[in-house]
Structure formats: structure tokens, C-alpha cells
Symmetry: D2
Subunit: 359 residues, 4 copies
């Protein structure tokens, strides 16, 4: 079992890549929220495939249909279910995947777990397509947070070996986050962005793929969200982030690098900025003792390169129990990092919203 | 709210550093398990303070008392509650902590969250002492897994800038893990271990502290544990790990480095080893699609340097709303990484056990 | 928040009476179960309106569409979402319900809870129509239990003052339960059934409604399902039953009458039937200490008369804050007890299945 | 698994009748609540045994020790664990219970569920003694509700066949509830109370036991607590009530009798009392659509007669698989209804508090 998440808002996710639809039910949202449908659509587009040479050519409009919990333009307070119908499916491309396990995918582990009954077409429930309804839910969460003055934003920190600088964790501006969300390829330094995109194209030309890192920030959080045990902000957010396909690492603030610091360097010393408590540095990424400190919340999420590559790969035929060679056909992203940005933002917004509703 | 975790086994944790006791209730364990009390005690000792110059001199024996769920040497199937009484408390050392917020600790965020009513002595519920009952629970989980042939082990991958090699993620031997658990300072390369310990002593002498990285492995896991959404092995394990005080990063398999690889390099290609499915590499750390693959499960956990250092630090007096200087008194660890090893192992064992009991 | 239930299987329910659809997501079902679609449809028909003079004339076919988790005729092990589209809606009938609160319904309490943003048409999410997807889920649960030899069945114990005998709680036969499920109006004594139906027609003619009692049994349960605290079989089942609209009472075994017995009478004494443990009586309804005893599980559920009646009623205009008179238009059931039978059975089957999957 | 309950406050209960202690951890209470320890003690005394001839002579003071979450007289906001040490145990009285299954108890079902490893002494975790920590938690909940003006109270509606009148569900006064709580044997009509007590003594003299019904009311609840699906007030409260040992029936408002009414009678018509919405009748017991209506919340809980009686009973020797005769020794209550009153009130208060903290 896996498809339900949350304490105060609950998500129930469903769907397979080549089934009838993917969708989500969101329970626990307040009544009376006027949903900004255009905004939700724009968030869906940020994740949608087929926009340019950097992404798969699968042409899904990713338009959602709300089935419940929405009346006269507003939330009713009862569960909202939204579905995204599947349409542009080339299921035949996947017929051999019944037997040949794609390296780096959940084909083999899913086959064993579900005793061979999982829907293998396009990865089924393991497909990144399941993140589409998750982005729908995240867009609503971001809208609610926005109305409270809380801003969520992210940039592509790295694609392969090409990195740009981290966010300024102390003086990060809302304006920067708002600019980033408008960019099709959200980086702080567009020159670096061009390099990253070139690397993606190059990998594609070489029938290969690349990974990367998304760095995310949340600004204007109140102090006091989260808990020491077991629902630290880091715990709850990492839980959601590691549900996103291809994520293999999550770090907060200085992250792994903080392990190399001395305490005297890592500790974020306090000062008063008028009557607000601030820290000179922000190595803890805005979270202390599992609880928000009021400083910018910062975290990084590592994505592996897309597992689907066109090169021949050594694998097994699970039905025959023999080794085999696989050439994956179909349309695939040479990199999913840029499409993952709104997914990561959704995880941040949903986690924060769920924790904010704690008594 | 924060103190409850789990689906099939549920942990409920409680206690403050300088209160009456810390403890845990474990619900959902099978009936009839003969608890290996000596083993549990030995695990508690691995975490206990006061053993050597590397740790705080607080002398807590960390002996537990089981209050329920245990009869005639075996689990009854009903909830097990165990407490660890607090004894060697120097609460006076902490009297000024009511006002002066220690940098790097949860003092300030806890103060705001709990409106000033939290038990500030020794960090209260934010204290790493709360991990003692967690290790108790983890020891039981490890014992149950051990009886199923599953082995959990860890080494100190890094202290500050001093690193040793990662585990061999493909051919990791049980023997190595079993050796590590016997070491007071568990490293693969004892020369590196000596360097690390020297660095800790040096930091202590400089009234400072150091952080580090723990790398953990789980061997002999069956294929098929975990779920794609939202309870991937990574999700559930990261959730627990990020509850451990001082953890700021978690990565699986190649982790952040996988983001620099090409897909053709990152993908773990399959082969048959007799009738067992294996992969030539293990960049995914034994988890694919959120589900165990049967390869060694590998993850790394980054710890920040101990926040309590004896050097003067800039802080605020929260009561007066003014800036202040703080010199932390009391007994503190110059490094908590070696004491954290059984805590991380406990998180791994409890997560795996909880997921294994899924229908 | 309310729409999620369960531990080992999780239900997430959504939808409004006059919205786009009602539906449910079921998470945690085993993979590979060949769904008996005809059986599920037949269960849906048992609940569906418009079949005869005893029910509302709303003509909903209640046919379901499975959106996920179902592939090649079998469950995949990932969440199953099913929707039942709304079609035959006379929303105009309900326009005055925006202001006039129907006595006995959730109109007023929902209005306050959801700050006036709930979908009031046909009761919205409070409508008994939401039980349609619940019956879908229950039919799957019953199918799985059936394959384990476990039989769920029910009869209409009472309509208004007309009662028939209780089940024989000691020697209840499977055959009787199987016969009952085939009846459009499931009673043991068809003469009593005729009286009940006449009473319903009479109430309808008088622009009024009647309530009743459903008695349900589950046979062939293994011993050992359920827990003492807090998940007794009674606890978990009552939780679901009291979610069904119009339920105001639940009792197990001898129920309220057991409070009048002496211990020497109420205690079910044991004997050996070959190597099976049985009791001479079954006042505890097959549950002792919250756990199934292997004797027939028996419980009764009290339904209030349909709140929607055509007679003029005194109420308030919530918008104006004034008293008013209401004549409810639209099509309504003079009695919902017979349509509730499969809903109650669904609650029993889902509870048992969820508890059976406990580790 | 069973020992954890709640969404916004979580209870984790543990302990066995003749083990080291029984206890509870309460998570999610607000910080800064000044606990009224005298009040909590007085509530514990209401449940405690050994007070008079009506109860078992086991002399447990039921004094609690708070281990965590309590500092300077106030809640800290972190989990509160309290234990009640076991002392006056006559475990030898129970030695034969290892083999002989007491009719009406959970001995047999627990034996099977826990594979013979349960602590059988005094019923172990099945003992009503486990309700002592539950009353501790309930007393805190009642104190918090009291500070919000919400009053919980109950009377013994029936012992055996002797009944007194129900509460006036429309005009129930706070004063009556406050008087009842002061009575050792809480009834509205003390003459009826004397009859009930005589019946209890008579049953005791006949080596037998009697059951009864507790009727409970909650006054001054805000409108809007609870949810339609799946967390109606009735659902959540019944869940807790059916965890209390010996409860076999729960009904709200007119309860089972509402099934005999016509809709025109059962529907509670509305009127305006100044600017407050009220109903002329209260057959729904203050709950409509699963949500509080602002009218008095009323429910009744049926208790079976104490299962432990001194008379010889037919049973089985589970070890030998043979029929046997049992004469239960030890000290037992001829009736537990009066001692159950604070337990039922605790269930009401905890349910209401948990639901009130919903976002």
C-alpha cells in the first residue's frame, strides 16, 4: 500500500501511464477557496511533456477535470478529486516491456512486488506521469500559501556536471523566485542554463540521458512549523520528495557539506533585526530542531538521469529467466530535471500546508 | 504533534532530557518473540554517553525498564513500553538556557512553537537523549530482522574532511558488517578511524565540534519491499532519519553523485546469477521504483557538527528581545557521529520491518 | 477532513450528489485478484434507486467506471479508482435548499461547518448517493472474503414497528444468507416482508417516511481478527457503520438487551465440537475482547426514517435568519432500509478485510 | 495492532493488569495548559476499584505518575506519558487461567490471536484496568473542554432491568451534569439508584453479575464538529466506546427507537431562539450529517454484565483441548457500570477534542 499521504490534508493518488487516467483526491482543504484555474493550468504546463526538444514528444495536454469538492468556483471543504485523462498513448511501444526489465526503472521490483499483475505499459503506476495530479494538488497548495504571503520557488542547480550557484540562503529575494517560475528552463544564470540545455541535447544525440539537482526555497514562513519527533519539516518533506520518481538524495541548508564544517562555523548565530529574530548565516536551511526558524527554507533534491535511454542495454527476460539485450523504443526525456521543478515545488507546498494545519 | 510513527508497527516516543524519563511504546510487534535482552543492552551501550574522551561525560547507563507487552521472556503481541530513567542530570547547567537561545539547536524554534512552555533543560524533547528509546526499539527490530537473515550495519564514512571509502555496494560482505558492529569506532579502515578520532579530540581542545557522515547497509533483503507512491523505501526511511537530531542530508546508492552520471552509466544493468536476478552495478542502492531490488541497500546520512560548543557565540536573549553572548557550559560531545551509528541503524531496521509487514 | 478510512486497505471517497461524479479509491488490495464485474454490478443494483415503488424514482444506473489499478481483468496491486457518473439530476428541485434547511438532514450543520460553500444540491457530499462507490468497494471486499469461504449477509430486521425474528446466532446457515442476497426485499419471513413493504407504501402515501433495522451476519470467520485497544472489531465496524447516512445505533450480539441479563446468562459457555471451540450461546455476537471468536458475527444497525418527506415542515431560512416553512420537492425514498442492506454489508466486509490484513 | 488512536491528538495505550504498569502517551495537546492534578485524581478515583461493596476489593489507588510533557505545572506541547503502577496483585488467583478460558472474556480469542504468548494474568491487556490511563487522558480532555465552556456528564440509565428516565435531550441543564459528577452512584433519581444498587448487591450475593446502560451528554458544543464521511462524530465516538471492555451497543439521540418513528416525528424541526438556531426536538442527539448541531449531544452505551462470576461455568481447557468446569476465584465487580461512567465520559471528551482540532 502506498497511495495515501498526509495528516491534515490527505492525498490519495491513483493511475497508470497507459490506463484510463491518472488522478488525485485531496481531502482536508478549507472550504471557500476560489481556485485559480489558470494558475493551476500554468503549473500543469510547466510539468507537461512535449513542449520542446528537451522533453519527450508524448503530447499530453495534461488538462485536468475536477470531479468533486468544487462548486461555484470554490472549494466546498469536501474531498476534491481531479483526473487527467490519458490520451496520446503508444502502448504498443511497450509490449516487450512485459518481459524485458528496463535497467534503472521499477519494472523488475514492481513485477516481483505485484506478482506479475502490475500494468507494465509505460511503467504503469511507476510512471512519472503520476506526478501530473501531484502537481495539480501542489498548485492548489501553492495558491493557498501565496494568499498567506508564502512563496515557493526553485531553480535547476545542476544538470550533469554543470552547476550554477546556490541560492543566497540569507538574503534570497521573492523577486528572484517569481522570475524563475516564469522561465521555461528556470536557472538563475541563463548562460549556465544554455550550457545545461546543450548538455541535454548532446546526451539525447548520444542516445543517452543526464540527471541534475533542483534547489528549492520557501520564503516568509512563520516560525514554529514542524515538530522534533517524528514529523520534522525535513522528515515530512523528504518523505514526499523521495516519492518522486528518480530522486536519490535530499539535503537541507548546507546539507552534506555541513558535515565538513566545525560547529563554530555551522551554527547560525542569532541577531535582532528590529524585533525580528534572524541568523547571520543559514546553514540549517531555515529549519532547527525540525521546526521552521523564519529564515529562508532551502533544500536540494538530486535526480538521477532518465532511466529510459535508446542505447542497447544488458538486461534479463523475466519470463524466461534469461539474460537479454534491450533497446528501449518510444519517446523519452533525455533529462527530466526541468520538468521536475514544479513537482518538487508541489512537494514543498503540500508539506508546508499539511504541517501548518497542525493544531 | 509529532511523536507517533509507522503503519504496521507504530512507535510512540516521549520524554525530555532532564525530566523523569525518556521512553517509547512499540505497537504491532508479533507475539512470541524471545527478546535478546543482552543484545538490546549492547545496542544501548553503543549509543550511551560517557564511554570515552570522544563523548560527553554525562554518565547515563541507559538501562531500560520494560513496563508492558513482555511476559515470560517473550513479546505478548500487545504494546511494549520501555522507559529509560534519567539520573545524572546537571539541570543547573542549563538555567540560563531559558533565555539564551543556543545557535544550531531547537531552542528558539521550540520556544516559539510551544509558546515558551517547553522544557528547556538540556534541550528537553529536542535532546538527542530521546534517541535512546529509539535505539531500544531499533534493537528489537534488528533482532527480528536478524532472525530472518537480514543484516543491518554501518560505518563512519566521514568525520569533518576525513573520509574513508564507501561500502562496496555490489559485493558487500556480511562479515564486514558484523565486524563493524563490534568496533567502538566503526570504520572500515582503522587508520582513517584514528585520523577521525584525532580530529574530534582536536576540535574538542579548540572548544569546537565536528560533523560527519554515516553510511549504512542492509543485506539479504527480499525483493519487493516498499511502494512507488507515497511509501517508497527511500520515503519511509528518510522520514525517520530526518527525525534524528542533527541530520541534514540523506542519499541512497550513488546519491547526489548520480546526478552527474549519464543514464548509460547510472542504470544498473541486470544479469542472472544462477536463478537470482542481480545488477552489475548498484548506483540505485538496492532500491528501484521505491522498492527493494535484492541488491545491498545502501544509504548515507549527513550529520552537522554538535551544536553545543564551549566557545562564546552571538545569540539573543529571547525574554529581553536583545542580543547577547553565550558560553555554553555543561558536558557535550565534540562529535556525535560515532554515537549516531546505532541510531541510524535503528531507523533502517524499523523502516524495513514496518514495510515488510505490509499486506 | 473525513474522506479517508482504513489501515491496511485505505478508502478515499469523494463526490457530491449533483456534481460530476461520486467515486472511491481503494488502496492496498492484493495484486492479481480477478474482479467479478458482474457480481459488483449486481451489488450496485441492490443499492440503486428507481427499481420499484419503494424507492426514489431517480433513475441512476449506478454503473461504475474503473479508472486505475485494474489491468487484464485483474487488480494490479496499485490503487483502484472507480467513479459513478451522475446523470439523472434535477438540480432545480433543490434550488431553495440553499436557504431552507431540511430537518433531519446535514444541511444546517454542513452549512456552518463549510461556511456556506458546500454543494447543497441534493445534499452534496452528505447525500446517500456517496454510498454507491462505497458499495463498489464493499463488493470487491465481499468477493475476496467469498474466496476465503467467508460469507456476509443481512436481512431487514424491522421497518417501523414491524419486526421479524433475529438471526439464529448459534446455528445460522450459509444457505439462508445466500438466499437473502437474492431477494429484492431481504427478509427471512416473506409475510413479515409484505407487511413491511405495505407500511412503506402507506408512509409514502401519507407523504411520510419510515426507518428500520438491518441485522447482518458474517460466517466462517477465523478466530483472532481484531484487537483489544483501540481497534476492536466492534470499534472498526461501528466507525464505518456510523458513516452511513441515517444510522443512529449499532449493537453486537445481544446488544442493548445484554445489559438486562445476568452474567450467568450472558456469558457464552464453551464446549468442544470435535476439535473446534464453540459456545452454547452467542450473546457476544462472535466477538470477545474485540476479537473474533469463530462463532457467527452478528450485529444490528438502526436507521432513522428518511429525512426528506413531502409534508410541510417548520424550518429556518439560514440566509435571512428567519423561521420558514419547507415543502421538500424532488423524488425521495419513503424508506431507505432495503437499499441500505448492501451498504451495511459493504461496511462489514471492508472492516473484516482491513483487519484480516493486520500483521 | 491496536494501541494507537486519534488524528489530532493521538493516544498510545499500554500495559497489562498484572504487569509492571498500565499507561498512556498523549500526543498533540497544546502547550501551556495548567493541569488540574486534583481534578485528574478525582476522576481517577471515580473509576478506581475498592471503594465500596459494589466493586472489586482490589485496592489500587490508581495514582498516576507523569513521566514527560509536563513542566512547571503545565503541558509542554510534547507527548505526555503517564503510568499507573500495579501493586495489589494477586497473580496466583489467576494461575489456572492459563488453561481455562473464562466465558465472556477475551481469554480464548486473545490466546489464539497472540498464539498463546499473551499475559493471561488478570486478563492482561484485555483487563478493564487498562481504562485507568484512558481516564487519565480523558480527565485532561475534559479539563480543556471545561475551559472552553463545554460540559460532559453522564448518568446510569439502567442496571439490569431497572431503568431511570433518559436525559431531557432538549432542555438538559449543566447543573444536573455537574451534580451527577459528584455522586458516587450517578443517577438522576436516587430512589432508582438505590434499587439499582440493591440489584447489584443481590447479584453479588448470588455469585452473579449485572450489566447496564450509561447515558452521556455533552453540552455547549459549537456547531460544525465532525464530518460526513468517514469521521462523523458518531463514527469517531463509537470507535472509542467499543474499545471499552464489555460495551456491546452504542446509540445516539433516540437511537434504536428512532427506527420506529415516522420521518415527520423523527425530524427535528428548526426554530430561531434569538439569533441561535435550535430544534424543537432532539431525536438526532445533537448530530446531523455526522456534525454537531449545537443541540445537546446525547448517546447511550450498553454494558454487558461482568464476565467474571463466581459460579461454576462450563468451559474448555485450551491446553488439553477438553471440556472443563471453571470456578473463577479472585475479586471481581458484580457490576462495572458505575465504574464505567468516567470511562465513557473520557471517550466523549477525547473524541470531541480530537475533532475540534481538525483544520
Amino acid at each position: 500500500m502506498s497511495g495515501v499521504w498526509g495528516n491534515n490534508i490527505k492525498l490519495s493518488i491513483f493511475g497508470e501511464s497507459h490506463g484510463r487516467a491518472v488522478g488525485i483526491t485531496i481531502d482536508g482543504l478549507p472550504a471557500g477557496i476560489e481556485l485559480d484555474l489558470e494558475y493551476i493550468e500554468s503549473e500543469m504546463r510547466r510539468r507537461a511533456p512535449g513542449r520542446n526538444a528537451l522533453s519527450t514528444q508524448r503530447q499530453e495536454k495534461d488538462s485536468f477535470e475536477i470531479l468533486s469538492g468544487f462548486f461555484n468556483g470554490r472549494t466546498t471543504g469536501t474531498p476534491i478529486c481531479a483526473v487527467i485523462w490519458n490520451s496520446d498513448q503508444h502502448s504498443k511501444d511497450y509490449s516487450e516491456l512485459k518481459d524485458l526489465m528496463r535497467p534503472g526503472h521499477g519494472d523488475y521490483t514492481g513485477k516481483v512486488k505485484y506478482k506479475g499483475f502490475n500494468d507494465y505499459r509505460g511503467g504503469g503506476h511507476f510512471s512519472a506521469r503520476v506526478t501530473a495530479p501531484f502537481v495539480f494538488a501542489g498548485a492548489i497548495a501553492k495558491q493557498i500559501l501565496r494568499d498567506k504571503g508564502i512563496v515557493v520557488g526553485a531553480h535547476i542547480k545542476a544538470v550533469g556536471n554543470i552547476q550554477e550557484e546556490n541560492f543566497d540562503s540569507v538574503n534570497l529575494s521573492e523577486d528572484l523566485l517569481k522570475e524563475l517560475v516564469k522561465k521555461e528552463f528556470p536557472v538563475i544564470d541563463d548562460n549556465k542554463g544554455t550550457e545545461m540545455q546543450n548538455l541535454i541535447i548532446q546526451a539525447k544525440d548520444e542516445l543517452d540521458s543526464v540527471g541534475g539537482i533542483v534547489e528549492t526555497a520557501v520564503l516568509n514562513l512563520p516560525v514554529g512549523i514542524g515538530s522534533p519527533f517524528f514529523d520534522s519539516v525535513e522528515s515530512c518533506l523528504a518523505h514526499l520528495l523521495f516519492s518522486i520518481p528518480a530522486v536519490k538524495g535530499v539535503e537541507f541548508g548546507a546539507g552534506f557539506d555541513i558535515s565538513k564544517m566545525r560547529g563554530s562555523e555551522a551554527n547560525d548565530e542569532y541577531y535582532m533585526d528590529g524585533d525580528r529574530v534572524k541568523t547571520y548565516t543559514n546553514n540549517n536551511g531555515g529549519i532547527l530542531g525540525g521546526i521552521t526558524s523564519g529564515m529562508p527554507m532551502i533544500f536540494r533534491t538530486a535526480f538521477k538521469p532518465t532511466a529510459s535511454i535508446a542505447r542497447p542495454q544488458r538486461t534479463i527476460n523475466i519470463t524466461e529467466g534469461k539474460e537479454a539485450e534491450l533497446e528501449i523504443k518510444g519517446r523519452h526525456d533525455p533529462c527530466i530535471v526541468h520538468r521536475a521543478v514544479p513537482v518538487v515545488e508541489a512537494a514543498a507546498a503540500l508539506t508546508i500546508l499539511d504541517l501548518m494545519y497542525n493544531n
